[in-house]
Symmetry: C2
Subunit: 323 residues, 2 copies
């Protein structure tokens, strides 16, 4: 396990984040469970402020930050991490600059601006926006790496503490795997509290950097990461989460664009919650490996609900075969 | 105020419901507020189990019920009240029969069945289903009137206690007005705790029984109640909520089908929450009277999120002018 990040850091995060958020519901869905053949629970991270799990990390980071010599923070994002830092900066009364790539989800952009952050558009994808954001750092602005930041991972890991509180008998947790903070956080918690719980990361087939790296046991970058699950659209594993994930994760699964779209629709119909692409991949994976999960207690993380309306509309009008 | 229902009953409900549910978020939305010209807060009743405020009443009723001579409960519903009783019966381990009209929201029907209730389809609308449900009552099944039941109203009223806890400076609360339990509950609470808070009920123009009765100061039944807001599709005011609402409500507003549809879309884009028709009328009304609400603290109740997919799809494909 990485030396920069210990279970104790998760407990420290737990001490501060509930000043601003509440634990999210872990809900059993009978209709979904009947279909899948296992006891299916959805962890509703979409019920958090900003509608995504990322806020746990943002609040933890900014609460612990000494603001003495800092005018603000700067980062790059496809939207949810950006909303998280913008919202947390607003709570702490500091400035915030978020770099997003061109053509980013317009509703995520609008939300970032609604939290008083400065939105800067640059680059053709997340990694180009990220490289650019590092160049914009000035003396009194702190750069926040979206993935290699221990406080973000420790904050996000509180999600798994809540799952173990609500369902100690959980067998498997299925989580979206993009930058890697959410999965790394889950691993830190189950390693400490119950290493028998299986952690399965889910990537988009079109953005499989962690999957390929894990399969081949070496860090692999992909040329593109063009998936409808914008929160998973990264072309590489990142150092800190990678150092935790590669040696500890039980399995990484990839899902197709169609499986993601159909899972968004299935979640709509059975739970009446909105899932963005990344928020739906856990269900897609659960459906894919349901034969292996029979009768088990399975938590599927609905990590975020910020699916823009035009994308949802096109999903509804082009997808007919619901699993 | 009605003698069968006092503020004390709301406090008794408060004592029991939080064993099974958590307070719902009251969230400020800057983007929406900028558009509307007032401080707009959404009360997320869609985050409750069953995705609707009704569960507050169901849990309160069944918790307080002596189950000694009762095998189960029976009621009629368009879906959310039925889900509430089915879910609460499941928690209490008793049987439950729900009568819904023909052609009811299929996803609400599926949810009712997923909570182990018996679903019975009868009648062309809510009031026909309700009349039929009363005939089905047998010795050991308790009939629960969907609206004239003090324990339901007292349970639902906890919603307003939470609002006053989170935002004591609230000026106006906009609530959907269908059967009347939600509005009656809000009135009981503000009358006791802060009578300066304005309570505004919102009806669909196509189901205006309370509106017409209030305007004309006599109970008026309508011939039909055919609105997309299925939760508001009632043809008459009911005795108990009516006795509280008619003499105490500050205003009743009606909104058109187009205003409801556009509000569903606006809520999607600015909050990424799914609102069913009844859940969106508060925003529709807020938009309609925004000139009167300028700079005020306004809470809009998102009462439920069980909008079936086909209805949402047709809204998306037919509505282009977003307010």
């Amino acid at each position: 396990m990485n030396n920069n990040l210990k279970f104790k850091d998760v407990l420290l995060a737990k001490k501060v984040i509930y000043k601003h958020i509440k634990p999210t519901p872990l809900r059993h869905y009978a209709e979904l469970s009947d279909y899948l053949g296992f006891n299916g629970y959805i962890k509703h991270e979409n019920h958090l402020p900003t509608n995504s799990f990322k806020i746990r990390g943002g609040i933890n980071l900014l609460t612990h930050l000494s603001k003495k010599n800092i005018k603000g923070v700067i980062t790059a994002s496809r939207g949810n991490h950006g909303q998280s830092l913008a919202y947390s900066s607003m709570l702490e009364g500091i400035n915030c600059k978020i770099v997003v790539p061109y053509g980013n989800n317009p509703e995520k952009n609008a939300a970032i601006k609604s939290f008083n952050a400065e939105l800067i558009e640059y680059g053709n994808d997340f990694d180009e926006a990220r490289t650019y954001s590092e160049k914009l750092v000035t003396n009194n602005f702190l750069y926040v790496h979206p993935c290699n930041e221990p406080k973000l991972i420790a904050g996000v890991a509180t999600q798994t503490l809540e799952i173990l509180d609500d369902l100690p008998e959980v067998d498997t947790i299925l989580l979206p795997l993009g930058g890697g903070t959410e999965v790394a956080g889950a691993i830190i918690v189950v390693k400490q509290l119950n290493p028998k719980i299986k952690i399965i990361g889910v990537q988009a087939e079109l953005a499989p950097a962690y999957y390929l790296s894990w399969k081949n046991n070496s860090i692999i970058h992909t040329k593109s990461a063009d998936t409808i699950a914008d929160g998973l659209a990264t072309k590489m594993p990142y150092e800190l989460p990678s150092s935790i994930i590669m040696e500890n994760i039980n399995e990484i699964i990839t899902v197709t664009e169609d499986e993601i779209k159909q899972s968004i629709i299935k979640l709509y119909k059975t739970t009446h919650n909105l899932a963005e692409g990344a928020g739906a991949v856990s269900l897609a994976a659960g459906n894919k490996i349901k034969h292996k999960l029979k009768d088990k207690n399975v938590v599927m993380i609905l990590s975020g609900g910020n699916l823009d309306l035009e994308t949802f509309k096109s999903i509804l009008n082009t997808n007919k075969n619901i699993f």
